[in-house]
């Protein structure tokens, strides 16, 4: 048997029981690797359940910073009896299987291509600790101690983390450190030379931070000056507003009164949540809500109102696996179409696709400027993987000179100085964006009646066809203006002569870059374009036109972004081949590599047979 050997490049998967306190132990492990300067990304794969069902924690360690899922597991820490067999079978040949040997492995566990290491976590724990509640938690810490030995980790990083974590309760630090030592010593005594995986301190992390996307969005909203949020709890979006609330309580306290410079309302449903946002934005506050797929469906009618009455709305969609209730705790990018065209009638919404927490922070802040500049809903398209997992990213930055772009809003003075008659929907500048007023601004000027029914340039109700048409066409002028304001795609031309290009967005980015680098190593330099927003800009169409074959990589079944490219930019479907992962788990570099290989091979086959082929 050849053991997997690697320094700073492997995958460890913990198999736990939900609600058993494993999360903090697993975090401790990931954070220790991060603090050793080695790039790491942990992913929770968890059930829609609070206690008792299987949950996994997959840690990707990669010196070169490829932190999307790779595929395959090199080391399994299996402490959940329910999934023991699956965890055992899923391990890669040459891998390492660590289990709680307080109970023997079943007789049919007969693989001879892996290294099995039994450590009696329960027995060690019960011998040492008397408190039954602590036992459960410390059992998890023991395996972290064992891993520290097996992976040659610097033990002091772990003990320092524990000390820091229990700064206010030093009495609790003591048994935790003891548990670490128990695991460490047991592994040292029994498996001193068994493991060929190791963590070597590095400076690859640099000044990077480890943060989840939802916290970054919530923080971005604080920095952007959002003051009103209506929301309704739904996994996996809940932690966006919770973060907004947490940071607001820290940064938005009025010194003299102790009152908050924010209004956060937990609404009765998603309809009310978006209604609150629309009411607040109409009245001149920066407002937002966060939800997931089912919430988007419920908000449909209101989104159409915001589009047609031209009200700035910031909506965060943390996508999960659909349809219907789907898999609420699994990830997907399957709301692209439902968001792009949310609501009845001809509606189109601006979408932003962040790929890491830093971009979540930036797009969150930018979304408020865009919404107010464009007077339309802006939807931030994150997903469960980005939102709820910690990701390594560059440190967040804020330019203190930055001013909020409140868009075209008339003040009392502006209204006094107006020469012509003001109309709420009068396109004075020719960019499709009109001037608005906040209620209460001026005693006699600037009042208007906002409505979702068709209206003329002065916001009066009309069913006159020509007026309606002019309004709908002006909205398309605004749509074009949007293209010049929203984030541009990130293009990497590795070989301008190569006719193969890939397009992707959001959390598909990281695994795709890893797959591309594998092809580069073999001499095939694939060009890439990362979509960052919708509507698509000229650069996207040009990129597609300058390649023979485009692979579009997405995490949904129906190739939704590809459909959007066909619909909005008349791209020929024959030109765009899909690579689709929609099993609810984050896409892997192995999956993408295999798919690209297969598609290229099939294409070569066609060429060889003289049947054309596009590459």
């Amino acid at each position: 048997m050849t053991k997997i050997e690697s320094i700073n490049d492997f995958v460890v998967r913990f198999a736990n029981v939900n609600g058993s306190g494993s999360a903090s132990a697993n975090n401790l492990f990931a954070k220790a690797i991060f603090r050793a300067g080695v790039p790491v990304s942990p992913k929770n794969i968890f059930p829609s359940n609070i206690q008792g069902l299987p949950t996994w924690y997959e840690v990707r360690i990669n010196e070169r910073g490829f932190l999307g899922r790779r595929g395959g597991v090199d080391m399994a820490v299996a402490v959940n009896g329910q999934t023991l067999n699956k965890d055992y079978q899923d391990l890669l040949p040459g891998g390492y299987f660590i289990y709680d040997s307080s109970k023997d492995l079943p007789d049919d566990f007969l693989r001879d291509d892996i290294t099995v290491m039994g450590i009696p976590f329960t027995m060690l724990c019960n011998d040492e600790f008397k408190n039954p509640k602590l036992r459960q938690l410390l059992k998890n810490i023991i395996y972290v101690g064992a891993l520290a030995f097996l992976l040659d980790m610097d033990f002091s990083i772990l003990t320092d983390s524990i000390t820091k974590q229990f700064q206010k309760k030093p009495k609790l630090a003591e048994p935790n450190i003891k548990a670490l030592e128990l695991g460490y010593n047991y592994a040292n005594e029994h498996y001193s030379d068994a493991c060929k995986l190791s963590i070597r301190p590095s400076d690859s992390v640099g000044d990077g931070i480890l943060l989840d996307g939802n916290s970054a969005i919530g923080l971005g909203a604080v920095y952007a000056g959002a003051t009103v949020s209506g929301w309704y709890p739904i996994t996996p979006s809940t932690s966006v507003v919770e973060a907004f609330d947490r940071y607001s309580k820290k940064f938005r306290v009025e010194e003299d009164t102790g009152r908050y410079k924010v209004a956060i309302i937990q609404a009765e449903d998603e309809l009310a949540a978006i209604g609150i946002v629309i009411g607040a934005a109409w009245n001149g506050a920066r407002a937002f809500t966060a939800t997931s797929g089912p919430g988007i469906s419920l908000m449909g009618e209101f989104l159409g109102l915001a589009y047609f009455a031209e009200i700035p709305v910031v909506l965060v969609n943390i996508q999960r696996a659909g349809p219907s209730t789907g898999m609420p705790t699994r990830t997907q990018q399957a709301d692209v179409l439902s968001c792009a065209y949310a609501s009845h009638g001809d509606t189109k919404n601006v979408l932003l696709f962040p790929c890491d927490p830093k971009e979540c922070f930036e797009f969150s802040a930018d979304a408020f400027d865009l919404a107010e500049r464009l007077q339309t809903p802006i939807i931030i398209m994150s997903d469960l993987d980005l939102g709820m997992n910690d990701h390594l990213c560059d440190p967040l930055e804020w330019d203190d000179k930055r001013l909020y772009d409140r868009g075209k809003v008339l003040s009392t003075e502006d209204l006094d100085n107006l020469k012509e008659k003001w109309g709420r929907y009068l396109d004075v500048d020719g960019d499709g964006i009109c001037y608005r007023t906040y209620p209460g601004t001026h005693p006699t000027k600037g009042a208007y009646f906002t409505r979702g029914t068709s209206h003329n340039e002065y916001s009066a109700y009309t069913e006159e066809s020509s007026t309606y048409l002019a309004g709908m066409e002006r909205l398309m002028v605004k749509w074009d203006t949007a293209k010049s304001l929203i984030p541009t795609p990130r293009i990497k031309m590795r070989d301008p002569e190569n006719g193969v290009g890939v397009i992707f967005y959001g959390t598909t980015t990281h695994s795709t870059y890893e797959a591309i680098s594998r092809f580069s190593k073999k001499g095939l330099k694939i060009n890439s374009l990362r979509i960052r927003s919708f509507p698509f800009q000229r650069e996207v169409v040009d990129f597609i036109n300058s390649h023979n074959t485009i692979f579009i990589i997405e995490q949904n079944r129906d190739a939704q972004l590809r459909t959007l490219l066909m619909a909005e930019d008349s791209i020929s479907p024959a030109k765009m081949q899909s690579i689709l992962n929609y099993d609810g788990l984050p896409i892997t570099a192995n999956f993408i590599t295999n798919k690209i290989n297969n598609l290229l091979a099939a294409d070569e086959q066609l060429v060889a047979e003289g049947k054309g082929g596009v590459a």
Partner: protein, 350 residues
């Protein structure tokens, strides 16, 4: 279509203390049916605003969808208005109020808009005690879709369609009291003398003031078999009490004999003097307030007037402890923590 009202007025028309004439509170011409109860309700709102000397531009009018929800176009044309989505006036009003607590919010809804599609939002705006004047123009039918029964149509009542309603009706006032409302009243669009003080009291109230205005639909529900016709309501109306609304800073001119009146002081210092002489119904006890409604109903009577007041319940802003300043007036300086704070956050994430 909307039509502007003729601008011509008598040159010597009276002005209120704030210097506004009645005309300053009017809106576009109504496009509702001639004789619609909603137009009388609208005129009640105009009268209340005029008498209180409210600055028209400091009012925001928000409505849902339906005949009633069209009315914000017909009053206070110098105020911003928002005709939103069916049944969702309360959430839009909630957002608007959160953004700027300094304006006076008038929410207009109807019985379909409130008692059916908007029941959830109605309930939760009450629960949160949003500082909103929630006016439901209740005609017991769906007017814009031509006369279907609504959830407030009384059992057995029939409109122009001639089919008696087989379902139990919802009493919005009773429900409002049970859901924790802090000001609940019922008026009749045909009785402006009673309606105007009810609206004025609502404006002075801090928190959610709910007024159910029975407002007959002349086209679809003014039949001899309807319980929401002008005739039926006039014959069956019962009032809790008559009262005077005395705004803050206004001298009390009437003389009240001791023991004959009950005084309710509103948050802004205004007072409501309830005349006990013509009625003995208590309106500050929730249980009694519900009983009053039920016992009159049992007698086949419709209780109107101020039904319940509670000045102890905090409004939403005070519940969530938000700043006294309008949130929409805050700037970068108030809101953005700055880069130095962000670098500290970065440090905590390493």
């Amino acid at each position: 279509m909307s039509f502007d009202r003729p601008k011509f007025r008598h040159p010597n028309q009276t002005k209120n203390a704030a210097g506004f004439s009645k005309q300053d509170y009017e809106g576009a011409m109504s496009t509702l049916c001639a004789g619609c109860g909603h137009d009388s309700a609208t005129s009640g709102i105009i009268q209340a605003c005029f008498e209180l000397g409210i600055e028209p531009h400091r009012v925001a009018k928000i409505s849902g969808i339906g005949c009633s929800s069209k009315t914000p176009a017909y009053f206070l044309s110098k105020s911003h208005g928002f005709n939103s989505v069916h049944g969702r006036m309360p959430s839009v009003a909630t957002g608007a109020n959160m953004a700027n607590r300094d304006l006076l919010y008038i929410g207009i809804s109807g019985d379909g808009d409130t008692a059916s599609i908007g029941m959830g939002q109605f309930a939760h705006s009450l629960r949160r005690n949003l500082n909103l004047n929630y006016i439901c123009m209740n005609n017991g039918c769906y007017g814009l879709t031509k006369g279907q029964d609504s959830a407030t149509t009384d059992k057995g009542s029939s409109g122009k369609r001639g089919v008696p309603n087989p379902y139990t009706s919802i009493d919005l006032c009773e429900l409002a009291i049970e859901l924790g409302a802090s000001y609940v009243a019922r008026g009749f669009s045909g009785d402006k003398k009673q309606l105007v003080p009810l609206i004025k009291g609502a404006f002075a109230h801090s928190g959610l003031a709910f007024i159910d205005i029975i407002s007959p639909c002349v086209t679809f529900n003014n039949t001899s078999t309807s319980t929401k016709s002008y005739e039926y309501v006039r014959e069956h109306i019962e009032a809790t009490n008559t009262f005077d609304f005395i705004p803050l800073q206004q001298e009390i001119l009437a003389e009240y004999d001791e023991g004959t009146s009950q005084v309710v002081t509103m948050h802004d210092g205004s007072k409501i003097h309830l005349h006990k002489s013509d009625s003995t119904k208590s309106i500050t006890d929730r249980l009694i307030a519900v009983n009053n409604l039920e016992s009159e109903k049992a007698k086949g009577r419709l209780l109107t007037g101020l039904l319940y007041v509670n000045q102890e319940i905090r409004e939403t802003h005070d519940i969530i402890n938000s700043t006294h300043r309008p949130l929409n007036s805050l700037t970068e300086k108030d809101l953005c923590p700055g880069n130095a704070a962000l670098q500290k956050i970065n440090e905590s994430l390493r």
